[in-house]
Subunit: 775 residues, 2 copies
């Protein structure tokens, strides 16, 4: 077990790491050459243009020579705090604003508690002396942190009444904050939706599982069905094409385009024709002129793309059995989305259309049965992943348990016995090992969600977040508590009566506090500091900048900041709520670490949302019910754990008092669900009628059909349609960037819609093609 010195060493390491990251950030941020990395959102919104043009000096284009700015390197913090919530909503969307509120919620819940704990809980816990006795008896190796926790109280002590009252107080306080926040978020959401301009998704419904009738095309079926069943309000519909092959071609084309750009740039610099080899990876096969070679390949691919596009348009088989149906009023769309259409409930399924950016086109054709089967398969896989991923983690952690390591590798003993190394290993390794394991996971889980067949990016992110949360709960939280104990005490578990097991678990939870403190410091302090540095994006951007960027527009495309990644950040965040709530009563010394995380992460993400991340879609805070729900689960878990601890502490007269608490919490949850969740899932007719009437009064001659005509056009069409209008924009941007473009080359025509650096995202968010950062 780690001692207070171990924690101090770990804290020092992590704080120094965080400071190093922050300093590096402060220096890198003000270099003009990195400006696009740290202010990408402003470039995308068009409020910031290349700073290189402004500075006359050649060096000044790349390095910041104004030394005053180095002295004010921390001014990103007041800058980040200056923007109001309304401005953030306008600048980065409601999702981002609601996301930031989660951190504030964390501070609100745990803030008062961090003040209360030293006043009430710690004196009470210190007044016990069980840990001292145990340490003397050498029964369990323990430390100073444990003597501040509930384990220090003697069995059956009257002092447990303090913990029980505080457990009630904590639950009431948490629920109060949650209720307040839920009603606030619901209000903001409704207000946001009501004050929004006219948006296509308000008039549209996504219909899936369209049955195929041999005599009719999908398009005819859809038109006939909705003309029949929504005769008064049906306006038009847009079919969906299966463009997966086209997007593969585009991807391949863009990979080759990057090589072409690279060789052209090389040629410009060296003025010598570059050569390459035709074979594998350009290192074997016939030697050819690189520029001509890639131009040929790209030409071929583009021809294929044109014919593929024509095939898609002509072949009725490339129309998938789903469509976006638009209505002449919000009322009509709202009605269609909420009702059952067909006698066969597995056909003609209607639901709200996601906003065009949010559609995940690849999954629209998946039928209900297939969707169900896929969910089952993925559930099994997630179960396996969640429960068997534990094994490698527990091995690493048992190695980091130095007593175990010494046994496994006795030759390491002299090294391990060095005090500093020992502290380092015990304080740093367990958290780091876990973090590495977690790094590749979100991608795998996102792939699983995509396979399941959800039809919008927001839903995909929410579902992935759920899987990730289960994973974190079992592996990071339970795994750290139980597996560690199991490896230590497996032998005694088997050979002792079953009543001993809850006692051991109850004891191990407070004892794991030190582990979670180091985890919070590694993941929550140093990790968040590395978030603001954006080292990976920086390297990729500068690499592209060096080799393939030729025009200013290429540079724009080289920096795609991505979105905030709710599927990854939400579960991580929710784990801190869990840790805070569990240890708020058991070992309140952990709370300051959680508070520092919430405050620091709030600052960092506020900065990132304002300056870096680009919103992929707007779900108007649709993820809030999940956040609420999981904080409630955390609260329930904390209550059950406390019950477990108390029951092992033989507090027989006080424990039953705690039993109603989980039930009351569940009741509160059910009430909130009934009261607020419909605001996130449904669109009340009252609201629809109001907005329809307002619009009708203000714009009586509105041509809604024209407004909705191309709303849900498949990206494949948009990429061709936009050519003309985009061309003029390109010309305009050329006049500013003074770079020769090739307006007439066929490559350009297509590339407009799918710039090379975007292609990586093509499969994920093809819709971003026409919402990309061009303007």
């Amino acid at each position: 077990m780690a001692t207070v010195e171990d924690i101090a060493v770990s804290a020092a390491i992590n704080i120094l790491t965080a400071i190093a990251f922050l300093l590096a950030f402060a220096v890198l941020r003000i270099q003009p050459v990195n400006d696009r990395v740290y202010h990408s959102k402003w470039y995308i919104s068009g409020d910031r243009r290349s700073t290189r043009a402004r500075s006359g000096n050649v060096v000044g284009k790349f390095v910041n020579l104004n030394f005053w700015t180095y002295l004010t390197f921390l001014n990103w913090i007041p800058q980040a705090l200056r923007m109001s919530q309304a401005e953030i909503i306008k600048h980065a969307g409601l999702d981002s604003a609601v996301y930031l509120r989660i951190y504030i919620l964390g501070l609100k819940i745990f803030g008062p508690w961090t003040i209360l704990a030293p006043l009430i809980l710690i004196p009470v816990n210190l007044s016990g002396n069980i840990i001292r006795n145990l340490t003397n008896a050498k029964e369990i190796i323990s430390n100073e942190i444990d003597s501040l926790s509930i384990s220090n109280i003697e069995d059956g002590s009257q002092r447990f009444w303090v913990h029980i009252s505080l457990a009630y107080l904590l639950s009431v306080w948490t629920c109060l904050m949650l209720y307040h926040e839920y009603s606030k978020v619901a209000f903001i959401r409704l207000h946001f939706l009501a004050s929004q301009d006219r948006r296509v998704e308000q008039f549209s419904v996504l219909v899936t599982n369209v049955p195929s009738i041999s005599s009719h095309s999908i398009s005819e079926s859809v038109e006939h069905f909705f003309k029949m069943n929504h005769s008064d309000h049906y306006l038009s519909h847009q079919v969906v094409y299966n463009a997966n092959k086209f997007s593969k071609l585009a991807k391949k084309r863009d990979r080759h385009q990057n090589w072409l750009d690279y060789y052209e740039r090389k040629f410009e610099k060296t003025n010598r024709r570059p050569y390459t080899q035709k074979g594998f990876l350009g290192i074997c096969g016939k030697r050819v002129d690189a520029i001509d070679y890639y131009k040929d390949i790209i030409g071929d691919l583009e021809k294929k793309m044109v014919s593929e596009r024509q095939r898609i348009l002509k072949d009725s088989k490339s129309i998938i059995p789903a469509a976006f149906v638009t209505f002449d009023s919000r009322w009509g769309a709202s009605v269609c989305a909420q009702t059952q259409q067909s006698k066969n409930p597995t056909r003609w399924l209607t639901d709200w259309a996601p906003e065009p950016r949010d559609v995940y086109w690849e999954n629209l054709s998946i039928s209900l049965v297939s969707h169900g089967l896929r969910r089952v398969v993925i559930s099994v896989l997630v179960f396996l992943l969640v429960f068997f991923y534990m094994i490698p983690i527990s091995i690493v952690q048992s190695l980091a348990n130095l007593e175990g390591l010494e046994k496994v590798a006795p030759f390491l003993q002299p090294v391990i016995d060095l005090k500093f190394i020992k502290s380092f290993l015990q304080g740093f390794i367990p958290g780091l090992a876990l973090k590495i394991f977690l790094f590749i996971l979100p991608t795998v889980l996102m792939w699983m969600s995509k396979f399941e067949g959800y039809t919008s990016l927001s839903l995909l992110e929410r579902r992935t977040a759920r899987k990730y949360y289960y994973f974190m709960l079992v592996n990071v939280f339970l795994g750290s508590i139980v597996t560690g104990t199991v490896l230590e005490q497996l032998y005694s578990f088997i050979h002792q009566p079953p009543t001993q097991i809850p006692k051991t678990i109850g004891l191990s939870i407070p004892m794991k506090a030190t582990f979670f403190i180091t985890y919070i410091m590694v993941d929550g302090w140093a990790g968040i500091a590395s978030e603001i540095l954006r080292l990976r994006s920086l390297i990729i951007y500068q690499f592209k900048n060096m080799f393939i960027v030729k025009t200013e527009r290429d540079r724009e495309n080289a920096m795609h900041p991505g979105s905030i990644g709710l599927h990854e950040t939400l579960p991580t965040l929710q784990l801190y709520f869990l840790l805070g709530l569990v240890y708020a009563i058991v070992t309140p010394v952990l709370l300051p670490f959680v508070i520092v995380f919430f405050a620091f992460a709030y600052l960092v993400y506020r900065h990132q949302i304002i300056n870096v991340y680009d919103q992929e879609y707007e779900s108007a805070g649709a993820f809030w019910p999940h956040v609420h729900c999981r904080i409630i689960y955390s609260l329930l878990i904390s209550q059950l754990i406390l019950l477990g601890i108390l029951s092992t502490k033989k507090a027989a007269n006080s424990t039953p008092v705690l039993t109603p608490l989980p039930f009351l919490t569940l009741l509160f949850h059910m009430y909130c669900k009934k009261r607020f969740e419909p605001a996130f899932r449904k669109y009340p007719l009252e609201e629809a009628v109001e907005k329809d009437a307002m619009e009708h009064a203000s714009e009586p001659n509105l041509n809604l059909r024209a407004f909705l005509a191309d709303a849900y056009l498949h990206p494949i069409f948009r990429s061709f349609q936009d050519v003309e209008s985009a061309e003029t924009r390109v010309d305009k941007s050329q006049s500013e960037s003074h770079v020769v473009a090739l307006p007439s080359s066929p490559r350009h025509e297509l590339n407009l819609a799918s710039p090379p650096q975007h292609v990586y995202h093509y499969e994920m968010e093809p819709s971003s093609l026409y919402y990309n950062p061009y303007h």
Copy 2:
């Protein structure tokens, strides 16, 4: 433990009881005096009139003198079987027809199994010899039945593969039958709904939780809200009055009316003015003329009722915040029922209107929050009831365990040791004790459901059925298995390692087969025979007939057959599915008893539905999803129990093969839910549009407003409105029944709507007042 002889004795007793009941029924049924009891449905439908008028003989009016009919006393069976399903639907409604299908489903599931078991399972089980060994070792007292069960197979035997394959076969077969039945019932339901005539509930929506605005009345609010949000389809609405006080007065009046009738009849017979006393129960206080006294009281009450009625109509506070809103098309109603209306999801809640007969008026005013709290309170109460009702049952059962009884009351030993008494006690008492406990329960559970606040009778019955099922599952099934064992082996449970517990439970399930066989015979054989006899109804009817019936109409009212009582019969029925499925693999000897029950009960209930019960409402088989769901649960329970048994049997190589089965069953359930349940919960727009169009084509000038005008008028109004039209009907019936009525008395005017014998049901189904058996 009961031996085969005990079972034989029990079987003999129960078969004799059943035959006695059947003989009594056969004789009583053909007596003209009882005709109304055994053919009430025909009187209600108007196809049968009083037989007394036909027979000239005075004795013949009361006793059947035609001896031929005594010889053909079993002809109710072919009569019951003659009617086709379509005729039953027409005669007794779809609910009744679907209810009968459950018995057929039972026969379909267990029929092939009863043939398969003697061929495969019993030889396999007999080939083991563990029971013989155990009996020799006196470790557990067992019997011949057990040697036919799975307990007879040695641990780790390869013979368990037979059981596992058969478990798969049983599950597949059951699911196949369930799927087939679900799709059939869904089809029948949709067909029934489509072929129905125009019905008011198709155009109506029940809106609850209407917010009260001080400046508007409820009626104005409703009109304004729906005119605003469903402008194209809103037609009208009907407010609901709080008439609870009125119904109390009517109840009181009718109680006194019964006394008045009694004394008037007495006066007619004896020609002497009867006297009564004014005080408590007519046995103390001042002596008065009974007829005058009751006439006075009734006069007073009727004056009060008139003024109460006026108060209700005038006072806006007597309008409750709920209303029936009617639309100009099925489409409009369907849309309104399926969508969220208000921004605040706890207000303006809309749902399908139950058909007028089905409305439970008393609960319409309960708000959402109150409804939620009531459900919580009742959940806790049901939990307590389910889990602590066990205690008295287990005491009775442990008494019936004769070894225990001898210890408690050693003086009974000589009596108990008589072989016949012993067999009787062991075979009969445990089942009977349980049955008595269960007798009062449905009423309590129905009261609980009413308190919860459901707004229709059909929903009340379904909810009560659910509660009752939980009760049966825990107390009858688990209670009989576990409690019995616990009382026997409590001591050893505490003092043995935990791995022993599942073994003991696994062993006790096959051993309880004999108990359940006697239970089936008492409850399922003799119980069903007593159902056809209707002894309670017979006595009540003849009692009324003797003392208070004056006119033929009074006689009609004296026999209210009631409905089939789904809340009571469904869970009972489902218990047999559970028993059949659990023991189909474990102890297949139990199956023939289950089969006999299903076949016999099918005959009896077919007869009762055709001849006796009157349908209270038509839910078009809305209870089927529950039936399906609970059979699936039974299947799951049976699979888990088999898993438990096998794991204790050390069949380590074969048990894992069984593990996927529960998951596959759950998958099947989820699929069925998705595929069929919407047909029972929603009304697809496609269907609505079709019917609207058909109706529009056939009746272009239909005045829908007039058709819907009084559809959901509160019974209190109907009782006054009907007076004139009913008056004429009464005159007509007088000419047939040759009885002097009092057409002008104020009593009659009110009584028309709430005849005395119906008043008992007033609180339960006030709507039956205008659907009562008058025509």
